[in-house]
């Protein structure tokens, strides 16, 4: 980036125009005209669709806003009330369980997927394509599929476990019983999200020079040692990026929980995005709803900053 330099002395009029052009180029950069024209649409979109709504959200969260009524400024009251609200506290805990449970298993399955796809197999691109399907399929469709698979009376999961394999004596209402609902929605989130981990790790593993593995093999490293000392360090940065990215996405995942359980039974799967939606469009309390969404904003902001740094660093290499 160029350093702003004060315009030189200004002699004649013709020279002023040229001098101005050169001066502008010095200050704004050599490609400033095309650059400004090309980024203006993005700048407008970012301002109108993200920056403005974001600021508006912060303002609304500091008000009592009922649907159809003007907002009344109340300061941090919404946040304070939420802090002592038992239902909200449970939603926070549920969100963390949902997120970390999902991300942990996605990470493990992703590593497994990348490892098998880098091992000497036939039809590698076919397998890669198959395993990526949950990632490209519409999430709503996947959630509806699992709603049907998990169905307590006619669902195929119970059919398989009870009638075909005889593992369970009788069917389970996977999504309607408090004991299994959370595990079930987490399972669906893992199913949908692990391919992204896998494909990213696969890309990282392909970037590790083969000589490193050969050298390790010459030194007598076992398969596990090679994985531990060559593979893992080689994909460390990608792992950090993918885990942080997935943490943000999973924490804010709305559709899977909304379609499978709507937060039930009895609030056992109520996570923060669903609570935001319910508070806004069920209870019609917009201010409080946005306070739910923004409650963990400091943590989200820190995560985004750290992640953005890693992503930009990854690019520069």
């Amino acid at each position: 980036m160029s350093v702003p330099v004060p315009a030189a002395s200004l002699p004649s009029k013709a020279a002023v125009n040229v001098g101005l052009g050169v001066g502008l180029k010095r200050v704004l950069g050599p490609d400033y005209r095309m650059g400004f024209i090309f980024v203006t649409p993005i700048a407008l979109l970012v301002l109108s669709l993200v920056a403005y709504p974001f600021c508006y959200a912060i303002y609304l969260s500091l008000t009592h806003k009922l649907v159809g009524m003007p907002p009344v400024f109340v300061g941090f009251e919404n946040y304070i009330r939420l802090t002592w609200d038992g239902f909200f506290q449970r939603a926070v805990v549920n969100s963390f369980i949902f997120t970390f449970g999902s991300v942990f298993f996605k990470l493990i399955l992703g590593v497994v997927m990348a490892l098998v796809l880098t091992s000497p197999i036939r039809w590698r691109s076919f397998w890669t394509g198959v395993l990526l399907i949950p990632w490209v399929a519409p999430t709503v469709v996947s959630a509806l599929n699992f709603l049907w698979i998990f169905d307590g009376s006619l669902g195929v999961l119970n059919y398989l476990l009870v009638r075909v394999f005889g593992i369970l004596p009788q069917g389970v209402g996977w999504l309607s019983e408090p004991g299994t609902a959370m595990a079930s929605v987490v399972a669906v989130n893992i199913w949908r999200g692990f391919p992204f981990f896998g494909i990213s790790f696969l890309a990282g593993m392909k970037g590790i020079p083969a000589e490193l593995y050969e050298a390790a093999a010459v030194d007598g490293a076992s398969v596990l040692q090679r994985f531990r000392h060559v593979t893992l360090p080689g994909i460390r940065n990608i792992m950090i990026i993918v885990v942080l990215l997935s943490t943000i996405w999973t924490f804010n995942d709305f559709q899977i929980v909304y379609i499978l359980t709507k937060g039930g039974p009895g609030g056992t799967t109520m996570v923060m995005p669903v609570l935001t939606y319910e508070t806004a469009f069920g209870a019609q309390r917009l201010g409080e709803a946005i306070a739910v969404a923004l409650y963990l904003l400091p943590a989200l902001a820190v995560t985004i900053m750290v992640l953005a740094r890693y992503m930009r660093k990854g690019r520069r290499r």
Partner: protein
């Protein structure tokens, strides 16, 4: 001898794991498809569990005849195609500027775009809804077309920045020495070279718009104006409720995405790995 044995074991293990993962991944789609060809009667009496006998197409007929599914399909195509074209155009020129051109504020804009990509919709959907209401665009498809760039544009931009950065700068310099303008170098040299990347990015934008649920759920109140994901989900709370119905709709909703994906799998995987995350 020992090496060979362990290689065989490794191979067998790889195939076993692959098989298990593939079954886990494909089973829900298999189940969706065969359910869509079963009658309610077949389902309730738990006959022909894993292969419908006979194959029934009533679900599809009824879905198209008795519900607004066809209208939803049209809505989804319209919204996804329009917002994809918009996002790809804006994202392509923006990404080129951020990747290549030298101007004041470039670093800041690049960071802003990336951060925008990371801000989750769950904190934006209420204010965006109010905003669209204020503009009279709530409960209309144009509201969705206007809102979807909030996630497609940053994504496309970020993806294509990586793509443009990987194209050697010397090509443009050579073109400019031959008399091309900066814009000409972009339009005639860089753009044709990045066609696969632009295609992949556009395809991603399309699937994201096609699959979007939260904004469409919140913005649209008129049943006729729903997009497919929201329309499908409305079957589970609506009066007409049958799994065969629902699954035939699910199959038809998945088809375009999967078709596009199979056709462009190579580009998509490359796009994802080359531009998406690179560490």
């Amino acid at each position: 001898m020992k090496g060979r044995g362990s290689a065989t074991i490794e191979k067998t293990l790889s195939y076993a794991v692959l098989g298990a993962l593939a079954i886990g991944v494909l089973f829900p789609f298999y189940w969706m498809t065969i359910t869509s060809f079963k009658t309610e009667e077949q389902m309730r009496s738990i006959v022909s569990m894993f292969w419908p006998k006979p194959f029934a197409v009533e679900n599809y007929q009824q879905l198209l005849a008795k519900t607004e599914f066809a209208a939803w399909y049209g809505n989804s195509v319209f919204v996804a195609v329009s917002s994809t074209l918009l996002a790809t155009a804006v994202g392509t020129i923006g990404a080129y500027a951020l990747a290549r051109l030298k101007f004041l504020g470039r670093g800041f804009m690049a960071s802003a775009t990336l951060i925008t990509y990371l801000v989750p919709p769950s904190i934006l959907f209420i204010p965006l809804y109010k905003q669209m209401q204020g503009l009279g665009m709530a409960n209309s498809l144009s509201g969705l077309i206007a809102a979807y760039p909030s996630f497609t544009v940053p994504f496309v931009t970020w993806l294509l920045m990586g793509y443009f950065e990987s194209i050697p700068e010397e090509l443009e310099e050579a073109a400019m020495i031959d008399g091309a303008t900066r814009f000409g170098a972009f339009y005639r040299v860089v753009l044709p070279l990045s066609a696969p990347g632009v295609l992949a990015a556009g395809l991603y934008a399309f699937t994201q718009a096609w699959n979007e649920f939260l904004y469409a759920l919140v913005f649209i109140t008129d049943g006729k104006l729903r997009t497919l994901p929201v329309g499908l989900a409305s079957f589970i709370t609506g009066d007409v409720y049958g799994w065969g119905y629902l699954m035939s709709g699910a199959v038809l909703t998945t088809l375009p995405v999967i078709a596009a994906y199979i056709y462009l799998q190579k580009y998509m995987v490359e796009g994802l790995t080359a531009g998406g995350v690179k560490g």
